[in-house]
Symmetry: D2
Subunit: 355 residues, 4 copies
């Protein structure tokens, strides 16, 4: 309700601020009897972790997760799984000078007016650091989906700033710091290096694909699978657009083009992105998200302070020059959380049978 | 949970099928003491109503709404408002021949596999007709937002198939059957007439703008205002993409371009679309949705029947050649529902004061 | 949220006022493929219906239910089931003289102060008439529980005013107007006749027993099965107390008495009332509810009007001299609604297997 | 949903097992700007803490709480408050011998059948230890209610086993280990000492009274204030009955007795327990809960093991001979949680004004 719980049957309740003592989440509703260890979760956290290349923030957080509950002798018990990640690298002095200013493109202005108080340390609650517990919960969801349906979820970069990135192979995603599905990322590296020199940042497009999704996930009217995916993705920091399947291109398609033909061997195309009438069809779920350029840049920006006076803001500190770079594992986690929630809901109404 | 309730504090629970006895909704959580009559609601229903021009379905439904509860002597009482719309024009014979076939681009395939049973009459629950109760509830929400904050919500068409529609003036929207903000719609009419002759359909882009939105609506982490807007819009039939503010264009912007500068007189630009960190800034909320071409077309399509045999499907009956045409008032209603829900939530946590 | 929705997976959203155009509910989440007709529901509504004996209100409402949606060719489709009951016998003149007075024991005072407005016709939203949609929804829940688990739910009167009613047999419950499990109800009739002559009313205790409940329903910490049962029962009009199993008597028991011994053939006693640690054990669920005497009586009572002036209130109109008499079928419905919700939740987490 | 979240607007999500690494909760929805320190919370935790007298379990846990988030410079920020309590005194060897047996009166049997797996260490999730996070959250709720409305919530023992405890004064409650409102507790001490010698346990009745509650809290139909109180209290470990106001005694009252007369100076009696039609009247909220005798006793009990074989169970370890003794502060916390949730909901719908 107040914005910190994701899902209904597989519920993730997130807490923490960027520079407070700890961040974490409580997962309620994980089915019992699944093997689960801290290593399972750490694996995904490490994919999202800062400080791993020169293209992301140099903040150095180990992001070590501790399971506080819900697992007994290596198996989930069906009771809430508490996950804790201590914050260790808190250079709050970096942020001291902009305590009373609103950084353009940041949540400073809206938080201040909403709450009348805000934790300015590292962006407080609005920091992208709070995606770590989401990734941790997503790791649990992914594991269950994989075990039950063989579902695989892969996120990758399909555009970096003005560079379109062709899809070569899923195999390359883990082999470069951009989560790019291409073998050669020199152009991306050069683009990023130039950007940093000019004290600027850029946006990106991330694509996430889930294969092995059973037919029938999603509810008819409001809680459609695509609606919940859009909610999840648009809620990710810096996202300004979400597409399913053909997305905005579908507005220019004709009906004879768009509707995916069906044959005894399956669908011939996937303009639908794996969802018809809000319900999964068994095809790949295909989602794209547009990410705006990082708002924290060294170039001076025009703004006001909390008293309304004009100020010039320069955001120092350690920031990602493109927040999209680390977004792929987060988008995977969010898609996993949506899918497991609908899978459990589907099972509530329809039982174990999967058509 | 099962997909038929929208919102948390201003909850709309929708029921009905396209060709069943009736459709309607229950609005729970409407503040007491507001003037409300059936005429207030009918006004919005009439904007969405079929049969009003040659560019939309010729199904002729008066869509007359009856208030069953929650209003006493012309004022809301704070108890649930039951709204009923009888279905009157039910030519179910139009659909008889495709009972056992899956129409490409339609929900037939996914419903059948999800539920093992489906009401085929006019698309049953998956029909766009079910947006009527949403529009009715949106009318109530709009009225409250207007009275309390002076909020105005306007939806219009910004693209029809391959035609980009420039923004001329809000005043034109109500003067043509396309909800287009332009004076001259001859090109749009010709495009649609040609499309019908070739037994095809087209997509569209709808833009919705809310002005007069107070600062502070939206919750920090998951229930961000933009996340809930994306959920609402992507859940609308045929929508395949949602953008807030600069949307997908923001992926190509630099940080120095995208972040909206702030001055003592307000923001200089609105790439954010009125939302920062998931919370409204007081700027216009600016949303775009991409709508796929109507799946029901007279051109033959390749598909299978429920036994897996290949069939050729031609969808007869009375259909909108572009479902985007009637989507503007629905998108307005959805945005109103999101805003009122967050306005009430904000009031719960922060009281009456609006900063 | 605003009080009109019951349940999470099997959600019942209730609307209506005692003397408005109609009352009803929307059931969202009913599993697909179950046989369901209006007759199934009418059967239960008729058990609760007023005007059936001289011991209940003489208001004569047929309470005929219409299914508006969610059922196709006699089977549930998995989409929301809209149920409508038109109000027909609305003698609102009976209530005209107490429009501006607060009847002792009634909701007049609290509604007025909460909402600043109230529908006074027949108690408006606070009328026990609003239990009819609950009973209708309960009929659907009962049918599903019966089909899936063989669950039987029986409610009966175990105390009428100061008369304790022994349990003789379930078979007698349907054979007298008191829902009493005894053959001879002459004493009850005489008690009620005397009460009416003295212009007074009395309370009652209702007991509800569910047999054939599977093991494992209920959640560990807050959403315990007994917690949800207590919520359901205490929410029923006029209920002031709820007991599970040994109830208040357990406070006087010793540990050696209370804990039900277990043998290879089952439990030896049922002090637990079929629930341990908030989770069903497979024993009978055994619930008691205390119902206060009807507040609407012909004897004059001391009160104030809405301006704070002292007044003497006499409640005319047609009222139940003991609201407990018609409470048995309602309590059954409420128990069914709690059980089906937990059964679906259990299935979401644990699948079809029932241990 | 899965049982670990309490409330809707002031949401408490609880995690942990008795003998796992830690227990705690996340409070989402606490209004911003309230003074809050760990000391505020510790105060209430210490009232519930074990090991404080010879009449409660000798388990010695400091139950030191750490605030992980949601508080900045001593004030709540409106973001989730994470609370952590490390488990320190974990003698799990005490429980080793009953790993595969079902203790009568315990949750062992139902958990095992529900989940197919259970954490047996100290009762795992079913331990009364999990009320500590509830008490911690309640401390926050109490503080807000006190600041905003002057609400005071006091819980005390009104019956210990077969001994009725008269009400002398609230002042005595904090002066004896029984939370008894009497000066002289010698009889209670002797009763408990005798009980321990005979290896037995006893039940209790706890009464909780909230004064200074504003008029208008509670929702009309299902989410009545008394319904939610019943849910809260019946969900507390070992509770088997809940009464509001006159409770079960109201079944024997006549209408002329029960309905509380109203005068210009207020209500003359409080049979209603402060709630009419599910909505608070401004009178004291008056609740009683019946607590069953502790199931963990040294006397041998008849049971079965997980293979269905008969066994004799003796529960060693350190247990409360009457779990009711420490229930008073927990019941206060639960009542505070219900009240704050309804206060926020009321404010959402009706704004700041309190009538």
């Amino acid at each position: 309700m107040s914005g910190s719980t994701f899902g209904t049957l597989f519920r993730v309740t997130n807490f923490g601020e960027s520079h407070g003592p700890a961040i974490g989440c409580v997962i309620d509703g994980c089915p019992p009897g699944m093997d689960l260890s801290e290593a399972d979760i750490q694996l995904e956290l490490d994919r999202r972790r800062p400080g791993t290349s020169r293209f992301v923030t140099q903040r150095n957080e180990p992001d070590a997760v501790e399971i506080l509950s819900g697992v007994y002798e290596g198996k989930t018990t069906g009771t809430p799984i508490g996950l804790l990640i201590r914050n260790t690298d808190q250079r709050s002095k970096d942020y001291g000078d902009i305590l009373k200013q609103f950084r353009p493109g940041h949540a400073d202005y809206s938080y201040w007016h909403k709450f009348g108080i805000r934790d300015p340390r590292g962006g407080g609650r609005s920091s992208a650091r709070l995606t770590a517990p989401t990734v941790a919960a997503g790791a649990v969801a992914k594991k269950w989906l994989q075990a039950r349906f063989g579902t695989e979820i892969r996120g990758f970069m399909s555009q970096l700033g003005s560079i379109d990135i062709p899809f070569e192979s899923m195999d390359y995603i883990g082999q470069n710091p951009f989560f790019a599905p291409v073998e050669n990322t020199v152009a991306l590296e050069q683009y990023m290096d130039a950007l940093r020199k000019q004290h600027d940042s850029c946006g990106a497009v991330i694509r996430v694909i889930a294969s092995g999704v059973p037919v029938g996930l999603g509810e008819p009217l409001y809680d459609k699978l695509d609606a919940d995916i859009a909610y999840a993705m648009m809620g990710l920091n810096a996202v300004k657009g979400v597409e399913i399947g053909a997305g905005f291109a579908s507005a220019r398609q004709l009906g004879t083009e768009h509707g995916d033909s069906i044959t005894p061997d399956g669908f011939l195309t996937n303009n639908a992105g794996g969802i018809l009438g809000g319900i999964s069809t068994g095809q790949d779920i295909d989602v794209k998200l547009a990410i705006k350029p990082t708002s924290s840049i060294l170039s001076p920006r025009q703004s006001i302070d909390i008293d309304g006076n004009p100020v010039e803001v320069v955001t120092k500190g350690r920031h990602d020059p493109c927040v999209g770079i680390r977004a792929a594992p987060i988008a995977e986690a969010l898609l996993a959380l949506v899918l497991i929630d609908h899978a459990l809901l589907h099972r509530a109404q329809n039982g174990d049978a999967v058509r």
